[in-house]
C-alpha cells in the first residue's frame, strides 16, 4: 500500500491583497500548523486567506469560500437580523470583500469587484484564467469542497457537526469517538447523534443534549469529527483552545498529531494562548512529531505585517531556552 500523498499541502502563501495584508509572505507550512500573534494582528484573516486559496478550485467554490469567511464572522448579526425578519442577501455578504489576491504553491487566485457602465462586475481569476460576471447575471451557487473544513470562532452548529459525524460513521469510529469524549469528561458514557442531527451525550444512562455541556466539549468533538471529514484535505480552526481547559491541551494535541497523520489532513489553527503554544511544543517533542510549524504574525517597526515561521527544530530550541516565541 502506498503512503498517502501530501502534494495537496499548502506550504507557502503570498497574500498580495486581503484585509490587513499587502504583499505579505509566509512559508514553511507543514502538516500541523499553529498560527499566533497579538490581538488584532490578523491571525484569523491570515487563516481565511489560506482557506479561500485552498478552496478555490473553481469560481463557485472560490465565491463560496469568500462568502463563508464573512458569513462566519457575521454569524451573530445575521442571527439577530433573522430574528427581526430581515433577510440575508448572500451577494451582499460577498460584496463586503472588495479585494482578495493570493498566490500559493497550489494556485494563484484573485477576486475583486469593479464597475463598468455603472454596473457592478465580479472578477474571479484562478491561475490567470479570468472570469468576469456582470452583477445582473451573477448567481452565487454554493459549492463546498467536502474535505475542507473550517471551524470558526463560534464553533460548529449541530448540522455542521452532524455532517462531519457521517465521516466518523463511515470510518466506523463511533466507539473511538465515545472513548475520547469519555477521556475529556469521565462522567460521559458515550456520544451519539440521535435522529441523525441531535448531538447527545449519555450520562448515567440518560441522553442529554450537547448544549447542556460546556462549549469546550462541542469544540473538542467538532475537531475530532472534522479530521475524519477532512480526510486528504484541510482543517482550519480559529481559536483552537476555545473552551478547552488547560489540563486537556496536551491530550488534544496528541489527538491532533495522530489524526492529522491518520487522515492525511493538513491543519491550520490560530491561538493567542501561551499555554496552547507551550503544549503544542511539549507534545511535539514528546511524540517527536517534526511535521509541524508555528507561524507568528508580527508588525515590524514600520508597522508592516510580517510572518515568522518556526519549524520543529527551532520551536524545540526556543521553548527549551525559554525564548518568547508567542
Amino acid at each position: 500500500m502506498t503512503a498517502p500523498t501530501t502534494a495537496h499541502f499548502l506550504t507557502d502563501i503570498e497574500i498580495k491583497q486581503f484585509k490587513c495584508f499587502t504583499d505579505f509572505k509566509a512559508s514553511g507550512f507543514k502538516r500541523v500548523n499553529l498560527i499566533g500573534g497579538k490581538n488584532n494582528v490578523g491571525k484569523t484573516a491570515f487563516m481565511e486567506a489560506c482557506y479561500v486559496n485552498v478552496c478555490a478550485i473553481n469560481v463557485n467554490a472560490m465565491a463560496t469560500a469568500i462568502h463563508d469567511i464573512k458569513f462566519a464572522r457575521e454569524n451573530l448579526n445575521i442571527l439577530q437580523n433573522l430574528f427581526h425578519n430581515k433577510s440575508i442577501d448572500k451577494i451582499q455578504i460577498l460584496d463586503t470583500t472588495k479585494n482578495y489576491s493570493t498566490k500559493s504553491c497550489l494556485r494563484k487566485i484573485e477576486f475583486h469587484i469593479s464597475e463598468k457602465n455603472a454596473i457592478k462586475e465580479y472578477n474571479f481569476s484562478i491561475d490567470s484564467e479570468l472570469v468576469i460576471i456582470n452583477a445582473k447575471e451573477f448567481n452565487l451557487i454554493f459549492e463546498y469542497i467536502k474535505n475542507i473544513k473550517l471551524i470558526d470562532n463560534f464553533g460548529w452548529s449541530d448540522n455542521e457537526l452532524a455532517e462531519a459525524y457521517e465521516a466518523i460513521q463511515k470510518h466506523e469510529k463511533e466507539t473511538d469517538l465515545s472513548a475520547l469524549v469519555q477521556e475529556f469528561d469521565d462522567s460521559i458514557d458515550s456520544f451519539k447523534l440521535i435522529g441523525g442531527t441531535k448531538p447527545q451525550c449519555k450520562i448515567k444512562g440518560e441522553w442529554r443534549d450537547i448544549t447542556e455541556f460546556g462549549d469546550g466539549l462541542r469544540h473538542y468533538i467538532s475537531i475530532i469529527c472534522a479530521f475524519y471529514a477532512g480526510e486528504n484535505g484541510y482543517l482550519f480552526i480559529d481559536e483552537i483552545d476555545n473552551g478547552i481547559y488547560y489540563d486537556h491541551l496536551d491530550r488534544l494535541w496528541e489527538i491532533i498529531f495522530t489524526l492529522s497523520k491518520k487522515t492525511n489532513c493538513q491543519i491550520f489553527a490560530t491561538t493567542h494562548s501561551k499555554e496552547m503554544l507551550e503544549s503544542f511544543a511539549r507534545v511535539a517533542k514528546k511524540l517527536d512529531e517534526q511535521d509541524i510549524s508555528y507561524t507568528r504574525l508580527v508588525k515590524n517597526k514600520n508597522q508592516e505585517l510580517k510572518s515568522i515561521t518556526f519549524d520543529y527544530a527551532v520551536i524545540k530550541y526556543s521553548t527549551e531556552n525559554a525564548h518568547e516565541v508567542r
Binding site: 515590524n300 510580517k306 515561521t309 518556526f310 519549524d311 527544530a313 526556543s318 531556552n321 525564548h323
Partner: protein
C-alpha cells in the same frame, strides 16, 4: 529599548557573562541568551539558534548580537584565537550580522598565541602566587593543558584557587571582555 542576543557555549559562559553584566551595572533585561552547546555549533549556519535569531533580527526583536566562544588550542591547527576569529567572521558574514555583531573569544591572556577557554580565563584571574602553584601542579601531574578536561580547570578554580566569590571581575584579565560588553550596551 534595543535587545541584545548573547550566543554562548555552555552554562559557565552564561554564568560569567551574567555576573559581569551585573557587576558593571548594565541592564540585564536587554539580554536574550542563545546557548549553542558546543563550539562547532557556532559554525553551523543551519543551527536552530541561528534560524530563530535571524527571524528575530529580521523582525527587529533583536538589534545586536554578541558571540562569546572559546579560542581553544592551536593543536593540529584547529583552534586558537586567529583560526576561531576567522571562522566566526565568515559565519557572521553569511548570517548577514556584520553591522550588528561583536564577539569575544575567551582565552588565557597569559598565553602567547592567545589559546584557552573560559575556564582558563577564570584561572588566570587568581592571585599570582596561587596561579604559579597551580601551574606547577598541572605541569608536575602531567595534566594536559593543551587538550585537558576543561571542567577540571573550573573545579580547581572553584574549590581551591580563588579566594573571592564567585569571580574576580575587577582583575585586569577581564578588562577586554568588560570593554566589549560596555560598548555593546552603549552602541
Amino acid at each position: 529599548m534595543t535587545k541584545i542576543a548573547i550566543l554562548h557555549e555552555g552554562v559557565l559562559d552564561k554564568k560569567v557573562i551574567e555576573g559581569l553584566i551585573k557587576h558593571i551595572g548594565l541592564n540585564e533585561k536587554r539580554i536574550v541568551f542563545y546557548p549553542m552547546g558546543v563550539k562547532s555549533n557556532f559554525f553551523d549556519e543551519k543551527h536552530p539558534a541561528y534560524i530563530s535569531l535571524s527571524l528575530s533580527v529580521e523582525n527587529d526583536e533583536i538589534n545586536k548580537v554578541f558571540f562569546i566562544l572559546d579560542a581553544d588550542n592551536c593543536y593540529m591547527n584547529q583552534g586558537g584565537m586567529i583560526k576561531t576569529q576567522e571562522k566566526l567572521q565568515v559565519m557572521i558574514k553569511s548570517l548577514g550580522f556584520e553591522s550588528i555583531s561583536r564577539f569575544y573569544i575567551t582565552h588565557d591572556p597569559r598565553t602567547e598565541d592567545k589559546e584557552g577557554f573560559i575556564e582558563s580565563l577564570l584561572l588566570s584571574t587568581i592571585p599570582e602566587e596561587k596561579m604559579n602553584c597551580i601551574d606547577r601542579f598541572l605541569e608536575c601531574t602531567g595534566f594536559d593543558k593543551k587538550g585537558g578536561d576543561k571542567s577540571t580547570y573550573e573545579r580547581i578554580y572553584k574549590s581551591i584557587a580563588h579566594p573571592l566569590s564567585p569571580y574576580n571581575f575587577d582583575h585586569i584579565h577581564f578588562n577586554e571582555l568588560r570593554t566589549q560588553l560596555t560598548q555593546l550596551f552603549a552602541d
